[in-house]
């Protein structure tokens, strides 16, 4: 079965252009605004959508995404509502892949079986679960693959050639290369190292490679897609949301349009325009 993720990367390759993967946290800054934002992403140039599942203790995330997670939780985000956002999006767009990204505990508490059933029904294409390394594949990875959901893993600068086969086993959809050692959004993407890393990954896998964790500007995105299949941007986008909140934390008029405008600029960079 060729899924939406594979189809999207095939289309990008056919068009000979790099892709843009956008991250926003589900329910940030509130449920309805988030729905509008997500719906607008494909038209603004996002090729794949990562939707963060809010968690109180996002240990691999820097300050920007920590703050977005807290905003979403304060505004009443929950796993049920995250899946509702996906369902709503799927009602408008049947082609853009949606990948849920986050930490294991909210899924564990929802119940793995119930979660996979509801995620498939809502139209989720893939999962990136930061705190489930290959050593814990029995928890969710293998059940997700059996349910037809792609399991996308993070490869990092510390993932050496000895460990890479373990990281690439049971991986599908694409490989997410974390370009920096550190939490999300805290450093800038080092171009030359990324080029080398992508070449190394390609020696081990035919999967598409997305690079993220330090991609902040259209120029960063352009530099990344010169080497990789797509660039992922998260912290810079959620910071844009934060900048458009009023003193009470409510979205100021024009927030969605402003964020989508930024995504458009990132897409121009990633697409090599």
């Amino acid at each position: 079965m060729t899924g939406r993720i594979e189809a999207r990367f095939a289309a990008l390759r056919a068009a000979k252009r790099g892709g843009l993967v956008t991250f926003v946290t589900a329910g940030d800054p509130d449920h309805e605004t988030c729905k509008r934002l997500i719906r607008g992403l494909p038209e603004a140039g996002a090729d794949l959508i990562e939707l963060g599942m809010p968690f109180t203790d996002p240990m691999a995330d820097g300050p920007a995404i920590q703050a977005s997670s807290q905003r979403a939780l304060r505004a009443g985000a929950s796993m049920r509502r995250t899946l509702d956002i996906v369902r709503d999006f799927r009602g408008h767009d049947r082609e853009t892949p949606i990948i849920l990204m986050g930490y294991y505990n909210p899924i564990y508490i929802y119940g793995v079986e119930a979660f996979l059933r509801d995620a498939v029904a809502a139209g989720v294409d893939g999962l990136i679960i930061v705190d489930l390394p290959p050593e814990e594949d029995g928890e969710l990875c293998r059940p997700a693959l059996a349910a037809g959901i792609s399991w996308i893993r993070l490869a990092t600068p510390t993932t050496d050639d000895r460990r890479l086969p373990a990281v690439l086993s049971n991986t599908s959809g694409f490989v997410y290369y974390v370009s920096i050692m550190g939490t999300t959004g805290t450093k800038s993407v080092p171009e030359a190292e990324v080029r080398q890393a992508v070449a190394r990954l390609h020696r081990h896998t035919k999967l598409s490679i997305v690079v993220g964790f330090g991609v902040k500007t259209p120029d960063d995105a352009r530099a990344v897609t010169a080497a990789a299949d797509a660039a992922a941007v998260g912290s810079a986008i959620v910071s844009r949301i934060a900048a458009k909140l009023d003193a009470n934390g409510k979205p100021a008029p024009g927030l969605v349009e402003d964020v989508l405008g930024f995504v458009r600029a990132l897409a121009d960079g990633a697409h090599g325009a």
């Binding site: 109180t56 203790d57 240990m59 930490y103 564990y108 705190d131 390394p133 510390t158």
Partner: protein
């Protein structure tokens, strides 16, 4: 488990105690976690490692700590004989030094150049800062801003020892948030940095490693009680935050069927109020900070804040081996409130001339509940795992006194 008849065989090679434990960490950390596991395994097989640790425990930390018969409290409660394992007399004032000496030797063996740690009450932070001073390694201690405010003496101690204390303002600014921040630091500095985790929690191999370093407590108690009374204790009592002092006391006795064990969690303002830190009594299994264990959380899997007058117990989780011992019903997990701990704190000060930390004051509060009803030849050993100097401001505040 390899030996189903033993409670001391865990964890399995994946770091599991039954369903608890494991290695739930980001990929960036996995190679390092595996490296720590390998290096620790080698160190355990190397007699020179244990010899160096033993020497430091003896001449630097001051071990063995005494086993003290608390005569007046025994008389006061009128039942079982109460012994205190005096781990508050260790250098730095708590049991934390046992583990820090072990881990710093491992960090040196691994060639690490920088040490990070999290701390709640500051006892672990002080112990880490101490061993870093001893071995001339730079040290960063993450501490929740709330705890920085309520544990000022320890913050000052750490800076005197040359450590940098970084206040953490995310979440509710307590121990859980400090641990998140330490993990973020580690991810960013994985090549040169060793993370000295202070409790028997976190990803494998930390729970087993910290337990092994702390087991010196229980091993000494076995010898000392046998010397004093001609037999091993009947009941062990220890307070539980993450649970390192408790597992260190309990573990050597787990296969002694006659020994009853009580882990005392912090009930804060009372379990029913929801404002407590009792992960087993009031939580359920989940995944946080690298392991599956009992956690305080809501119905959506979001971690809730712990509440305790004791900064050292103010953590929404517990070491995974305790979760398993609870499941297997080998150890009973009970709780004591802020008020009960405060009463025990004052009682111990006045009757024994020992100002305990608020953490073991919780253990003593439970001893107070059971001792009177036990026969006079019943032997209780309670781990007096820390001294109370650091808590005098908190206690004065709670009692409405100015100092």
């Amino acid at each position: 488990m390899a030996q189903p008849n033993s409670y001391r065989a865990g964890p399995d090679e994946g770091g599991h105690f039954g369903i608890f434990g494991g290695r739930f960490v980001a990929e960036t950390l996995m190679p390092l976690i595996l490296e720590v596991e390998r290096a620790y395994g080698e160190a355990r097989r190397d007699p020179s490692f244990q010899a160096e640790l033993d020497e430091l425990l003896t001449f630097y930390a001051g071990r063995p700590s005494p086993l003290y018969f608390a005569r007046r409290l025994t008389g006061h409660f009128g039942g079982a004989k109460i012994y205190f394992k005096r781990d508050e007399l260790n250098h730095t004032g708590s049991h934390k030094i046992n583990n820090c000496l072990g881990q710093i030797l491992l960090a040196r063996r691994m060639g690490k150049k920088r040490i990070i740690a999290e701390t709640g009450a500051g006892q672990h932070g002080v112990a880490v800062a101490t061993v870093c001073a001893l071995f001339d390694l730079p040290c960063v201690v993450y501490m929740g801003a709330t705890d920085v405010a309520r544990q000022r003496p320890n913050v000052f101690r750490m800076s005197l020892l040359g450590a940098e204390v970084r206040p953490v303002t995310s979440g509710r600014s307590t121990l859980k948030d400090a641990m998140n921040e330490a993990l973020r630091d580690w991810v960013a500095n994985v090549e040169d940095t060793f993370y000295i985790i202070g409790t028997a929690a976190g990803p494998h191999p930390y729970p087993a490693m910290v337990r092994n370093f702390q087991s010196v407590i229980g091993n000494e108690v076995r010898e000392q009680m046998t010397a004093a009374e001609g037999r091993i204790p009947d009941t062990l009592v220890a307070c539980i935050g993450g649970g390192s002092n408790a597992i260190g006391l309990f573990h050597p006795f787990l296969d002694d069927a006659s020994v009853r064990m009580f882990g005392v969690e912090a009930a804060g303002k009372g379990i029913a109020t929801g404002e407590h830190a009792a992960s087993i009594t009031g939580g359920r299994p989940g995944v946080l900070h690298g392991n599956r264990t009992f956690l305080l959380q809501n119905e959506d899997g979001q971690i809730t804040e712990a509440h305790s007058i004791s900064a050292g117990l103010d953590y929404p989780g517990i070491g995974p081996e305790h979760s398993w011992l609870h499941d297997r019903k080998r150890v009973q997990y009970v709780s004591a409130t802020d008020q009960e701990a405060l009463a025990a704190f004052q009682l111990c000060s006045r009757m024994e001339g020992i100002i305990p930390a608020l953490e073991p004051a919780h253990a003593l509060a439970y001893v107070a509940k059971i001792a009177g009803d036990l026969p006079r030849d019943h032997l209780i050993c309670m781990n007096l795992c820390g001294r109370g100097d650091k808590d005098i401001f908190t206690v004065a505040d709670a009692l409405g006194m100015k100092i």
